[in-house]
Amino acid sequence: MLDRLALTLASGEVGALVGPSGCGKTTLLRIIAGLDRDYDGSVALPDHGKLGMVFQEPRLLPWRTLEQNVRLAAPQATDRSLEALFRTLGLEAHRHHYPSELSLGQARRAALARAFAVEPDLLLLDEPFVSLDDALAARLREELAELVNRRPVTTLLVTHNVEEAIGLADRLFLLSASPARVLAEVPVERPRATRTPAELAALRDAVVRRLSP
């Protein structure tokens, strides 16, 4: 599924894996997370190797409240840090709700909170905003950007949405169709906050051209 694939991320950098559906982006993420051991090659994780991951589905424990879910993944998180996290993501009112009482957007935010509460050395996101309406997805992207700006963490974001990748990442890895390898590495010079719509549009066109067969 993946063939001769190599990529490197600097500490604190946000990388985006962009590629067509089925090229193996999720498989690659699972390998990095240590969930898939059937491969040849090596994965070098930063520092203590503390992982935070946001899956395509929220994957919250339905029988525990939102706060309990976050605390189970991050037992050493302080009350203050959790407060700040919940405030940024707008979840304070839902701390004691069960996942069945949350909307999809809130559940996705809860998964984000959980991943950040761990204070990870590596943050992995697998299409975290797919199937949300545009306005909500845009809002969540902003919240993610705010969290990453507040506390820089090496991040790898998997997405098929080129705009999302360009808006959030410092470096794009364009993947070919299966068996996937890195077609191109596109660094994005401008810091996230200063990217203008014009620059984004130009970059998007360049990337889309590069991706099409």
Partner: protein, 246 residues
């Protein structure tokens, strides 16, 4: 509630009519049985026998549930355990209860250990099969999530695995409890000197239908209390996170 009481009243009325038709030796009327219950309670025998039977039920049930569920979880999670254990499971499931009881008594003597072991062995395969199904349908996505966040084995068992197994454990407990107390009565009848089963056996030999019914009803009443006071609240607590259906 009113309907239930009405139904209960009808049951007692039907009993009364039937006993008039069948005669007091074949079917004593509700009064006679009630009087027998009172006299046995007064003499202390009812309490003693009920106590012995309940103790056996508790121990055998706990043993069968604990071992059976553990086995079921193992077999549902690890294919090798399933391949190894399945033939034994099938044999145990299909061995008649009576055979297990009789063999236990023959090999281990008419002892308390043999009695409880026989009951536990009878119930164990049912718990295993039920919990195995639960283990097979565990959400792998949640397993992955727990692994990524480096949750320890106790955390995983308590927060990820057991809540998923809860409905299966409840089902195993429910069917198991009703099975266990029926088999306990049989082991008592066959080889123990006390308990509800023993008393029913003696009453059978003396054709004392009143005593049979007295003990039977007293026992059913106790099991109903256990059901209401222990099993149902437990079930409610375990399901408290489920979204309420309208």
């Amino acid at each position: 509630m009113a309907l239930r009481l009405l139904s209960l009243a009808l049951m007692i009325a039907a009993w009364y009519v039937a006993s008039r038709l069948a005669g007091p030796r074949a079917l004593p009327d509700p009064q006679a049985v009630a009087l027998m219950i009172v006299s046995e309670a007064r003499s202390g025998w009812l309490g003693y026998n009920l106590g012995m039977t309940l103790a056996r039920v508790a121990v055998a049930f706990a043993l069968a549930m604990a071992l059976g569920s553990a086995l079921g979880l193992l077999m549902g999670r690890f294919r090798i355990a399933d391949w190894l254990g399945d033939p034994w499971l099938v044999v145990l499931l299909n061995l008649p209860a009576l055979v297990i009881i009789v063999l236990a008594y023959v090999w281990a003597g008419l002892t308390e250990t043999a009695a409880i072991a026989a009951v536990a062995l009878n119930k164990l395969p049912i718990a295993t099969v039920t919990v195995r199904e639960g283990a097979r349908s565990l959400d792998r996505g949640l397993d992955d999530m727990a692994e990524v966040f480096r949750m320890g084995p106790w955390v995983r068992m308590r927060h990820v695995v057991l809540p998923q197994l809860a409905p299966y454990l409840a089902a195993a407990a429910r069917s198991g409890l009703s099975l266990v107390w029926k088999i306990v009565l049989i082991v008592e009848l066959l080889g123990r000197p006390d308990g509800v089963g023993f008393e029913i056996g003696v009453a059978f030999q003396l054709f004392d239908v009143t005593k049979i019914l007295a003990y039977a009803l007293a026992f059913v009443a106790v099991m109903l209390v256990v059901e209401t006071v222990l099993v149902q609240p437990l079930e409610r607590h375990v399901s408290r996170w489920r979204p309420r259906t309208a």
